[in-house]
Symmetry: C2
Subunit: 344 residues, 2 copies
């Protein structure tokens, strides 16, 4: 955090909006009018428009005691870009709602938008508008993203067919184990504020939690290979939850193999250290923002040697049977544990 | 509130999303894919796309002790439709983020979405997606709206010219005085819970506060009259604040006349009752969601007899001089007091 502290009310509405607007230069000529009017103006095109929104609430989705504000700004954009990636689209514009309390200084807001700016630059996205207001309690972030795609290339959750192959990008489990490490270090710190956190060993996992990336690279590679996945979803709530989404909307059954699930090595070891089953981190942990997608068997040859795409199972015609074959060969029913906010 | 109470976690994620989706039928063929995927899909067109977002936070923007949930759902849509109206556009789709705590039952959420549905039906808008999550504290609502307009008909805040005429629709001050009445009744109720609120006399003002409407009728009438305003903005923060927005972005000076400002009669009388200057409610009250716009002098003949458009002043070339001529003929500098959230 910067040493200087300026109060938001000193800037005023014009000042704050100008300060935000100055950080962003336009990527798309189609972003005709960006920040500063009642609505942003985006020129039309021949493609379909994709729209997605995500809300991030302090105390539910992030903890500012270990989440640096610039990472939070970055992540708020990335989780939305990931939704456009999951539709096989190209992200174009975002609008951002921000609810702030007086405990945030102007410098703190600058850090946040520095992260937003970095993510916008990395993914070629224009910030075209928003709403900044005070919040009576915690920090509230809402991002809506707009993307485009040729209509015939959009990948829905509902398009998977029997015998299609289930593919997962990258590795799973690290973001969740990173969160466990951060929570443990926070407790240590609260007990003994002189302790410095020892995060070196856990750097990859912590990075996955604090500064995730969206797999636009995979979207581009699939296009280069002339593959349109039959269905696609991003892994935000955990692999099991996303598999059940695909199964439900495509009306197919799931069969995956435990030994094919790409668990990150350090996450595996850290799960053991935390006395957890590593597969739980991969199946139910979430927040890795990798892509889960399905391809027809005829496309398998094109991607079978891809270093970052893993083939974890396939679809079958019993739409009520969703199972994992364990390393021991036993049949385990798949259950979602991702959406448990309201049950807590 | 309904007598039955069902817990959200009994529904589960699928159940809650299905329950919401069932309430909404599609208005626009261009809304190809609505709720239930990573992003909504909207077919492209020849027109420009307008995007706006608004965040409504409990304790800042609304008080559930007197705001019925169905009105809140209605208002959350309307304030966004009003932004599209202010661009001279047509609203088409919304996405809605909702942060809820366990104190809200399924029936309460139903009431909220009943209001959303009613507003969507009234304004011809499709709810095409959203994000529903738990909130650690109050109710959090974020709406992003997408609209369209022919590129040459979009009205920016920056288009006003010297000698243009300042126009205001409807009446001002009632929404703010409605809020004062509701706050007073709440205090009476807190002191003596057996007291029934006496709101009959204040019905219009309370309605303006709890269930505002967006002036899409004016947008359509201006189109019929072949008028494209040179600039336009909706009155959400108060007339003075919006006038200064237009002046700043158009680089012109403002001159308005107190006796031309359309203050609602009951708001006028209630302001006196509250020992307030009625002009303050109109200038700084906000939330009336009327339109402030400018027209070139040559368009004046077309609208001069319109019953619901009022001509409150004009623009001049001293971009640093923004004044109101009082009823007594004195010159009063215009000041914005709308954006004071952070100063409270």
């Amino acid at each position: 955090m910067a040493d200087i502290r300026s109060e938001i009310q000193q800037l005023g509405e014009f000042g704050l909006i100008d300060r935000i607007a100055q950080k962003f230069s336009r990527v798309h000529a189609a972003s005709i009018k960006t920040i500063g009017d009642d609505a942003a103006v985006i020129a039309g095109s021949e493609e379909v428009t994709l729209v997605s929104t995500d809300m991030l609430l302090e105390g539910v989705h992030f903890d500012l005691s270990y989440m640096p504000l610039q990472h939070l700004g970055y992540k708020a954009v990335v989780v939305n870009v990931s939704d456009i990636a999951a539709m096989n689209g190209t992200p174009k514009q975002i609008v951002m709602g921000l609810g702030l309390s007086n405990r945030f200084s102007v410098e703190a807001i600058d850090l946040f938008y520095e992260g937003v700016r970095a993510a916008c630059a990395n993914y070629g996205v224009d910030l075209v508008g928003g709403d900044t207001t005070s919040s009576a309690s915690g920090l509230v972030i809402s991002v809506t993203i707009i993307g485009t795609a040729p209509r015939e290339k959009v990948t829905y959750r509902s398009g998977a067919k029997v015998n299609d192959i289930l593919c997962v990008t990258g590795d799973l489990g690290a973001a969740y184990m990173g969160l466990q490490v951060l929570e443990r270090e926070k407790q240590v710190f609260l007990t003994n504020p002189d302790m410095q956190p020892a995060l070196e060993r856990y750097e990859y996992m912590v990075g996955r939690q604090l500064k995730p990336e969206a797999r636009m690279d995979i979207v581009h590679e699939l296009a280069d290979l002339n593959i349109v996945p039959t269905s696609m979803i991003d892994i935000s709530d955990g692999l099991a939850s996303e598999l059940l989404h695909l199964a439900r909307q495509s009306e197919v059954g799931i069969k995956i193999f435990e030994d094919k699930i790409p668990i990150d090595n350090t996450a595996y070891e850290t799960a053991i250290e935390f006395k957890m089953d590593p597969i739980t981190a991969a199946l139910n942990g979430g927040e890795d923002y990798e892509l889960l997608f399905t391809i027809g068997p005829s496309d398998y040859e094109k991607v079978k040697n891809h270093a970052d795409i893993h083939f974890i199972g396939h679809l079958h015609d019993n739409a009520n049977q969703h199972v994992m074959i364990s390393k021991q060969g036993t049949v385990v029913p798949l259950k979602a544990q991702g959406w448990d906010h309201f049950g807590r």
